[in-house]
Symmetry: C2
């Protein structure tokens, strides 16, 4: 009735417990025929090592913790969904499972980490949203908790942990260049408030591409909240005051807002005014006529994170350099035709 144990297998195969353990963990220590015999017993009984017992003995759970934050309703971004999936898949291949947790109600973000850490429920954490400055990384470092972070250590200067990040500036630069190549010369930026490090980074990519091409930027930048309505009104103001022929936005949410304003004015997104978003959300993929958008290589990020994680757990002392990945541009209808 109850699950077979190591001892059951050992008895059936006529060997000792340790031999079965070796068959599972160090097969090359056994003589071929013994291994085969043990293997058959394992198959016959359907034996799988008991996780709890193994965890207890080896002091490892093969679990990695990931904190998830509430879904932002009303925005376009669904980065988390794709990222979580990639992470689960890649860590699964490395023999790790992903354990999700949220903040306990009305508590600070660190209680979740603390609980899992102290109860030795997970081997390591994957930290995201480092740009929010919640001090997750610093806190974990203090406790010597193993973790890798998806996102640069923005808020932690003396950080010494592995990280993987995506070069947002490269993304917006890509987007801006794409529009310049299309023949645009008045390209506006709709981004986030100045206190958003991520927003400022993405803005800098637009700025770089514009300067490089010798195009004007004054009066062409706007900084607002990440909401559809904010995008709408920013675009309204921008169209009235600066007459841009294209918009580069810090998010698909803002880009959608811009598109609303264009529709409102009877302007055709793409043909009349070009728009580029950021995140390649499902909104960008499905909205008419298709929103050109910067796509983060989340699968790749997951691969790198798991790689870093494995390295970290194998040799905790030495930490490799951070990994910076470059996003790609998904070109769709709102890019519009060439204007030359």
């Amino acid at each position: 009735m109850s699950a077979p144990t190591l001892a059951d297998v050992a008895e059936l195969a006529g060997v000792s417990r340790q031999t079965v353990s070796n068959a599972v963990n160090n097969p090359d220590l056994l003589r071929a025929d013994t291994l085969a015999r043990v293997q058959q017993a394992i198959d016959e009984l359907g034996y799988k090592p008991n996780r709890a017992a193994r965890n207890l003995r080896t002091r490892a759970s093969h679990l990695i913790g990931l904190r998830i934050t509430p879904v932002q309703e009303g925005t376009a971004s669904v980065v988390m969904d794709r990222f979580v999936h990639s992470l689960v898949e890649k860590s699964g291949e490395a023999g790790y499972h992903v354990l999700l947790f949220t903040d306990a109600l009305e508590d600070d973000p660190l209680t979740g980490y603390d609980e899992l850490l102290r109860s030795t429920a997970v081997d390591a954490f994957v930290v995201t949203d480092t740009y929010l400055g919640e001090g997750q990384a610093a806190w974990l470092r203090e406790r010597r908790a193993p973790f890798v972070s998806f996102g640069r250590p923005w808020d932690d200067d003396n950080a010494r942990h592995p990280w993987v990040d995506i070069d947002g500036a490269a993304g917006t630069e890509l987007a801006t260049r794409h529009l310049i190549e299309k023949g645009h010369d008045r390209i506006a930026w709709i981004g986030w408030k100045k206190d958003s490090v991520l927003g400022e980074e993405r803005r800098s990519g637009w700025l770089r591409a514009m300067h490089e091409a010798g195009l004007p930027t004054t009066g062409l930048a706007s900084r607002v909240e990440d909401a559809v309505n904010s995008g709408c009104s920013a675009a309204r103001v921008m169209l009235a005051e600066a007459g841009p022929t294209a918009f580069v936005c810090a998010s698909d949410t803002l880009a959608i807002g811009v598109m609303h304003t264009l529709a409102e004015r009877g302007l055709q997104a793409g043909d009349d005014v070009a728009v580029v978003g950021f995140d390649d959300s499902q909104v960008a993929q499905t909205v008419w006529p298709g929103l050109t958008s910067v796509r983060q290589p989340l699968e790749e990020a997951a691969v790198e994170l798991v790689k870093a994680l494995e390295g970290l757990l194998a040799t905790p002392s030495q930490v490799g350099p951070g990994v910076m990945l470059t996003p790609t541009l998904e070109v769709r209808g709102t890019s519009g035709p060439d204007r030359r």
Copy 2:
């Protein structure tokens, strides 16, 4: 350096291990002053019970497994994101964590379950996508694995497990009635292929509302793949052949397709032709002028699932009835004005 154990706390507090254990698990067994003394020692050392050791002894991991499937790119649906978050939150409140897993590459969906089950890594599973007929439920039942399902036991007649589902027909009925009240009488259905039980269920809600109002349905139903393009072409045909004034769709993805076709024809979604989607995706929330959509009460579903899970793990033999939840309608621009 290493984490404090029960024995450490016991020594510091001057009591036995068992007493500390009781202080943690059955506080009311202790005299008040002893409890206080132990509690202080616990706080002082920052003690948390070791998960692995506890799991081993109690034969429970307080983990529940959830299988996730790849994100469908190019569609609007993001049900999983919201659901996962709700589930993590609600199960966290009940003392459970959620363990994610995916199918091992090119393997059948059941290997993931098998592995976690046999290694006693999780206490139970939450099964989703039962409408796909992958036989997850039947397979788990066979192994006597505890699980609850989000979705009726479509594919398993003699199922005896707790389940929670959302009444899709009630959703589309709600949507259709809403349009009827607005004064529409030629309301088309764009749904999925006949082999989709979910699609047929949603269709039945439309049918019911139409019959109830004595409205015609012949020539007004279309069954296609769940893709934006399919929605486009279905709408094109429908407009040409049946002249509907409103569309009810099985998904936001299809609804977006319908909206594309309307835009293509110079028709105003809402003012000229009404459209209602299903899922209240971020696309529905952000697209212009706002897509009216049926919203699944996923938070509520998570609550019910966790409740069922707790019941199941407490008394595995008795199984309560399934829980059916009713969706709501999020009214937005594509509903259009009253036509009376």
